[in-house]
Symmetry: C2
Subunit: 697 residues, 2 copies
């Protein structure tokens, strides 16, 4: 925790605007520092009081016996600016500015005040959290520099979870959920306007705290990716899972975010791709952020995601299978040996296939549970377990079930969760240390998230080992130029990407010769770096069958382009390429996230159907295959209705090359649009038929 | 409640196998009858006791002073069969058979025993619930003929919800959830194996109880639709909403259901269509079954589903907009007048557009809430409201907010929900009678379900008024015959459906004449009632351009068909029909649900992409439009990329006619497959180009 140590583990804290009243903004941090056992020095500052909450109070920063490492600026409005200036002058390392009314309410004057504070701070080597920050809270060190009211009814109970957010409410609500489940939290930080230290930079410092086992983030906008990338790399290196809730998924949500904070809107699908690229799990909502927390803290090293379900209710068995299918978890196919052994233990009317229905036989034989679990544990297909006990009143030995389940979990080391609605039942399983959810839907969903996230982290680590990190961002501020089609195709061909056989012709004779060389029928296209939409001007002729026709079209197209007042770069004569499916490959540079490659179903309705997947370079063939498998057209690749498979390997190769092209700063490609790329049967390759490339000038 | 009155409101109940111990199956009902205040006569039957739980006990049914209206058969295994025989002989009206080990464990011998019991009963005019039934519980009358352990820790608290299920666990788990929320339940019935009275028939009787305001169903399989149809009709007539959880959505789930109970698997998409057709809301899981219950009990008459969100947290505003978009609720666009008024009340840094962010200004002015609500209430665009209060500790006047919100709700009569995570906050809103959810996701989801379900009920009532009820099922057991293409097209044309201009020719000369009449180019197709896949035999020629060619092809095709050993029905000469999109219309008869019409994107990959919507006849143009709007290709209908709109009205007209055809028992159509149906631009119609019809022989 070397970085920003003074923010997370200060040796001394001064509170500017300290109050005797723990229900005031300036009183709460003093109260919390005492309550949560802060071991460093506490310096309340308030010119009108000799003492605050039992601590000697000082009239000003200047009066302090030493420069505090951290100050909490709890005075309001413009007084906060003066306080920050004082802090910088006094040699403070970090100032947490709680005052609001800056950039979040006035994008001009408010932002200017923020810039002023940061300038003053940086000149003196000081850092600022906020303004408009609810504050930082490190329950590991007791450094609670926060005015959140929520810690009032929280006991001291350190855990291994860190929660970071700009928003105050969203830093505390997830913590409230976790506390209700009895899960301890180590860090809860709300950074506010992020004028200097951003939530991302602070998260890096938090990720370096070895006691943190799970890091949760709430983000409303991602103005830059630098810190998040570094955070993700550090987290992967030390196997720390990160779950992020990024709101503004919808257009309505982005509008709301913009009118509240003026935040830059991120393109949501790119956000998805960015998190995935970095092994960060994106939670769909608040529940998704916290629901699986316990599973992350178990230390499980899962091998797969095949589920075994066991219940005393047939209905719960059915609903568990439904829930598993809905999230994409396969039900494990148990070995014949397992079935044979289970048949020897269970009564004839129980079900020995997975999901395993113990029926009410559990009522008459409480040992059934303990007897079958070791049998199932040995099955190689069983990766994870869910035990559903929807009802168990008097007559059921729930205590024994809970003991057996816990023992089983310890023995196998494999993920195990319980779904129990009745509080009395849930409590007994929880008392033995087993994670319990109210229904099978939540249980399966949390289990799946945990398993899929571990897989994502492994895949991300493998990719990083194979492909390294993303390159630096290109400067997007300059002008861009469109390459003509011939230059576009040449640029791709130079990168080893298969493009349509063609010749750029500069005379009628060359066009005729090209026809002869390529062999008809051919496609003839006018070529101009000024014309993006050739078809509309009649500059594309398909199925040209004779040399004369090719020659005539050359003349016509030259005429059209010159009359249009555009540069005439020649005429392309190209082979007519067949294939089975029109694919599109596109790429652009996101202003925040950099190069983005899109691949999907091609044709004229690309924008309408958007059956595309996004990838951030660098990526591997495995990443591309995964992305292609998510497309709606994915079944076609393997061949349907008796058709042979398509040449997906060739497509993947081209896409990986496009990724590398976009990652190469020398290539200066700003965007490209390859549509169609004709994909043929396996062994017959894929060919870029049409291409438009934009480069930075 | 005339129907099955003795099952729901018996005047006397005998318990065969009554036990002194309330923790035994035969003791629990006696205990419950007392506990829940059953007013009728209680007759415990047990030869070895003079008294059971304070009631005089009888040695046998024969010894009773009168024939009980209901008996609870709490003896095990084959003893239950004898008991049922005794009941029938004694003149009992309904026997609730709790014993298990019948059809659910042995599909042959077990089912035979069930049939025997039902036969004996019916001969004597008696009805049976079960066997393998957990029992019936009517908290309105105190007739608790159930051995569920869950009622042990339930107080007497009648409500207006009814829960019916075959499964015991799934009849009580939802009730447990509702009780945790303080929602009373009137009926909880678990019917078991449904050998006689099915869960559907019992639900009809329950729906006739005027105190029931919401009816919940858990179904694992739907063996026949009769009772559910009647139930839905009764419920619509008295405006009673029904929510059904039908498990076995997934293949894995259906397999589990089948191995547990041997239940017939329903095709899940048809189940969706059936529920929708009848105005029944299908819950995706247990949560969805119960989550919105409170909203249904409020008596709201919603007018639309445009949402207004208000919060003291900007982050919650953003996430609420995301959640609304995710479920398909538009954010209301407030009037300029509303904005103007809100600006006069709220501080400058609050947001006056929807979602409305009050910011922490609520801390300094507790009246903000009460001041802005009446302004928003007057906005005509506001259909429903959500108030998000993620955090509110000391300093917030939550009591005032709760009072203001409740008053607002009463004043407008419009749906209003609160999202509050903190228990102290939630409790205060709940105490004022407002429905509270832990997060905005649950709140929005419940609100949306309620509003969409009310819309569905209205639409269903309108359709029933316009189109009447579904016809009776056809007997599917007989043979079916395929019509040749000419007959298929003729059958469609006779129903007013636009088919491709064509002639069935029986000689080369007729083919040539047809070419002349229709005008080239034409399509020539061999016609045989024995050949479904014409293309594979070379029996389809497109783009035939001359009369001679048409004549030659006639001869070739006759030759192919005769050599194939198939009936030669002639050769079709048809116009080449253009159009903008290939659509498919299909129809079949589901063994349980009857006629099903499918409509969607056509072409060769129909089965791969399954971009289809299902409709159950009779349906209206509105229903079809709604179904078409759900297709992935829906944007194309309106026109994209500058294209004109397509002739959706013509398509809808054809689909409605197909629905009527399938509904008409005289037509005897078993299935049909129209692919492609060429859909053209608005005003240019849609044309069935290829058709295969199967009829019952």
């Amino acid at each position: 925790m070397s970085r920003l140590r003074a923010a997370l583990d200060p040796r001394s804290i001064a509170i500017i605007g300290a109050s005797e009243n723990p229900n005031k903004v300036g009183g709460r941090p003093v109260h919390y520092l005492d309550k949560f056992g802060f071991k460093g020095k506490i310096f309340p500052i308030n010119p009108s009081r000799p003492e605050v909450q039992g601590h000697k109070c000082y009239a000003s920063l200047a009066d302090l016996p030493e420069a505090p490492e951290m100050t909490i600026v709890a005075v309001a409005g413009d007084n906060a600016i003066g306080a920050v200036e004082d802090c910088a002058a006094r040699g403070v390392k970090v100032a947490v500015v709680m005052a609001s009314g800056f950039g979040e309410v006035d994008a001009v004057a408010g932002k200017a005040k923020e810039r002023h504070m940061v300038e003053v701070a940086h000149k003196a080597g000081m850092r600022i959290v906020g303004p408009n920050s609810q504050g930082l809270a490190n329950f590991g060190t007791g450094a609670i520099a926060s005015f959140s009211t929520m810690f009032m009814d929280m006991d001291r109970a350190e855990g291994h979870v860190a929660m970071l957010s700009q928003s105050g409410a969203l830093s505390t609500v997830p913590v409230g959920f976790l506390r209700q489940k009895g899960i301890g939290v180590r860090h809860t930080h709300a950074t506010g306007n992020d004028a200097d230290i951003t939530v991302g930079e602070l998260a890096i410092a938090v990720a370096e705290d070895p006691e943190v086992k799970l890091l949760l983030l709430y983000l409303e906008s991602i103005p830059e990716k630098k810190y998040l990338e570094e955070l993700a790399a550090i987290a992967l290196d030390r196997d720390l899972p990160i779950i992020a809730l990024k709101s503004g998924r919808s257009e309505a949500g982005r509008q709301a975010a913009q009118s509240h904070t003026g935040a830059l809107a991120n393109e949501d699908r790119v956000v998805d791709a960015f998190f995935e690229h970095h092994g960060i799990w994106r939670a769909p909502d608040m529940r998704g952020l916290v629901e699986a927390t316990e599973l992350y803290l178990k230390g499980w090293k899962p091998k797969g995601r095949r589920l075994v379900a066991i219940s005393n209710s047939g209905a719960v068995c059915v609903m568990t299978a439904d829930a598993a299918t809905a999230v994409g978890m396969p039900m494990a196919k148990l070995a014949p040996e397992t079935d044979r052994k289970l048949k020897g233990i269970l009564p004839s009317f129980a079900t020995t296939t997975n999901p395993i229905d113990l029926t009410a036989a559990l009522l008459s034989n409480s040992r059934l549970f303990g007897d079958i679990l070791p049998v199932i544990a040995q099955d190689p297909a069983a990766d994870a377990f869910i035990i559903g006990v929807p009802v168990a009143g008097p007559g059921y030995d729930v205590e024994a079930f809970a003991r057996d389940a816990a023992a089983f979990g310890k023995q196998t080391g494999k993920p195990l969760v319980v779904a129990a609605t009745q509080k009395s039942v849930a409590d007994q399983f929880a008392a033995e240390g087993t994670t319990v959810f109210p229904t099978e839907v939540e249980a399966v969903s949390a289990l799946h998230q945990f398993l899929a996230h571990r897989e994502l982290m492994t895949r991300t680590r493998e990719r990083r080992a194979a492909r390294g990190k993303a390159g630096a961002l290109l400067d997007l501020s300059g002008a861009t130029t469109m390459l003509n089609e011939a230059d576009s195709l040449a640029l791709l061909a130079a990168r080893g990407i298969n493009v349509v056989p063609h010749r750029l012709c500069h005379s009628r004779a060359e066009a005729v010769a090209a026809f002869e060389a390529i062999g008809g029928p051919v496609v003839v296209k006018g070529c101009s770096a000024d014309i993006a939409h050739k078809s509309e001007l009649g500059l594309v002729k398909l199925g040209v069958k004779t040399r004369e026709e090719a020659g005539d079209i050359y003349t016509q197209m030259e005429d059209i382009i010159r009359k249009h007042g555009s540069r005439f770069d020649g005429v392309i004569v190209a082979a007519m390429v067949g294939g089975r499916r029109e694919i599109m490959i596109g790429a652009h540079r996101d202003p925040v996230f950099g190069p983005v490659v899109a691949v999907g179903d091609g044709g004229k309705y690309v924008e309408v159907f958007r059956d595309t997947a996004l990838l951030l370079p660098p990526f591997t063939a495995t990443d591309v295959r995964e992305a292609l498998n998510r497309l709606r057209i994915a079944p076609l690749f393997a061949g349907v209705r008796g058709e042979p498979p398509m040449d997906v390997d060739a497509l993947i190769d081209s896409i990986v090359r496009i990724g590398d092209l976009m990652r190469d700063p020398e290539a200066k490609v700003m965007s490209l649009d390859l549509n169609p790329v004709m994909l043929d049967s396996a062994g017959k390759g894929c060919v870029v038929v049409d291409a438009v490339v934009f480069r930075s000038a």
